[in-house]
Symmetry: C2
Subunit: 201 residues, 2 copies
DNA sequence: CGATAGTTTCAAATATTCTTGAAAGTCTGG
DNA sequence: CCAGACTTTCAAGAATATTTGAAACTATCG
């Protein structure tokens, strides 16, 4: 990746070209959004704040993205909740300004953290719950022995079912723990992990 | 996680309870689907084949999930394309049967592989493209020197823009490479990685 | 070669999710 | 504490995505 190391000598670029590049980025990032658990517009707003690299207020966002006030407000708020952007106050101005997290690695950590919290943890909880319904410790309620044979699930079916669930839980737990490590370790977890892995495996 | 190690002694379980557990699993897994890039129904079909652990045909799926033939057909086909289930022929029966990949780790690898292919790679390509529009090598077309000063983007703006894009590309490249390693290394990549990481960081 | 069983396709119907815009709410300076 | 500036909310409307069902297609059996 030669581009990344050559640094940032900046030759003259027509303004229109920069704007066009920004717009394209916003569009691409926006399309990626839904696949990441944020709406298209939310992703667009984020993209705008991220490439623009300077604080914007709600009206700026509305104007630049041609979206309604309500939409802009909700998207900005959601992004703040995710922790991907933050409110900034500009002195002498009564409006709220918003500024994107400028560090791409920190962004990545945020996304991972939020997805763990919103998706993986509830999923794990639900799976535990389901697994418990057919666990070893025969559940307290009704006494299963009093049923006729064909009202009992075959031991084999139960065993398979439990096995499948256990495997799944195990995988998801691993993913969760991996994620937690990336997110935690206060910083370069992901990068370190990447480096490590590329050497070891 | 004591549950996982205790093994699979299977006490009698009422059939209704097993069925209920399966249904709950199907529902939970289905809800997770959209967050993973597969439709709810697709995820449900997959869940059904996974917990059921025995091959089913289109009619079985329709009946069990109460969905239309068309939907069942499309979902099954998509799952086959993803590589999460495969067609099985049962001798003496003219129908096509489908069977889920039974190994949760292999499932995880499949999902990662497909998401890399469908999302990350196109994204990277697009980002390269965008980045090239404001790169060092002044683009060939028009000669930017002939524009009036205010038709040029400020060097600072361009520099920031490029920096942002480069950082992003770098992060995404890392994710991509990480993913490739998990997926490749013909097997227990993810598990190994997890173990490794949990020791090192 | 039909006839039949099975599968796929796709336009229309449905369900879901996102967006708008105006009304209601909140904050701040005077 | 009022007036204006700004923000949030939310029901209705618009846009997307999914699902259906029936027709078209394909393969197999006798």
């Amino acid at each position: 990746m030669p581009r990344l190391s050559k640094g940032s000598s900046t030759p003259p670029v027509p303004l229109a070209r920069l704007t066009r590049a920004q717009e394209q980025f916003i569009q691409v990032w926006g399309q990626m959004g839904p696949a990441w658990g944020v709406s298209r517009t939310m992703a667009e707003v984020h993209a705008l704040l991220y490439v623009g690299a300077k604080p914007l207020n709600t009206d700026d966002v509305m104007e630049r993205l041609r979206i309604s006030r309500g939409n802009a407000s909700m998207s900005l708020r959601a992004l703040v909740e995710w922790g991907l952007i933050s409110r900034v106050h500009i002195r002498g101005d009564r409006k709220e300004y918003y500024e994107a997290d400028q560090d791409a690695w920190s962004m990545a950590r945020t996304v991972i953290r939020e997805r763990l919290r919103r998706e993986i943890l509830p999923l794990l909880a639900a799976l535990y719950d389901i697994r418990d319904q057919t666990g070893e410790h025969a559940p307290g309620g009704e006494a299963p022995m009093r049923l006729k044979p064909d009202e009992l699930a075959s031991a084999e079916a139960v065993a398979t079912h439990n096995q499948r669930l256990d495997e799944l839980v195990s995988v998801i737990q691993t993913v969760d723990r991996l994620g937690e490590r990336f997110v935690g370790s206060e910083g370069k977890g992901l990068r370190l992990a990447a480096t490590l892995l590329s050497k070891v495996i």
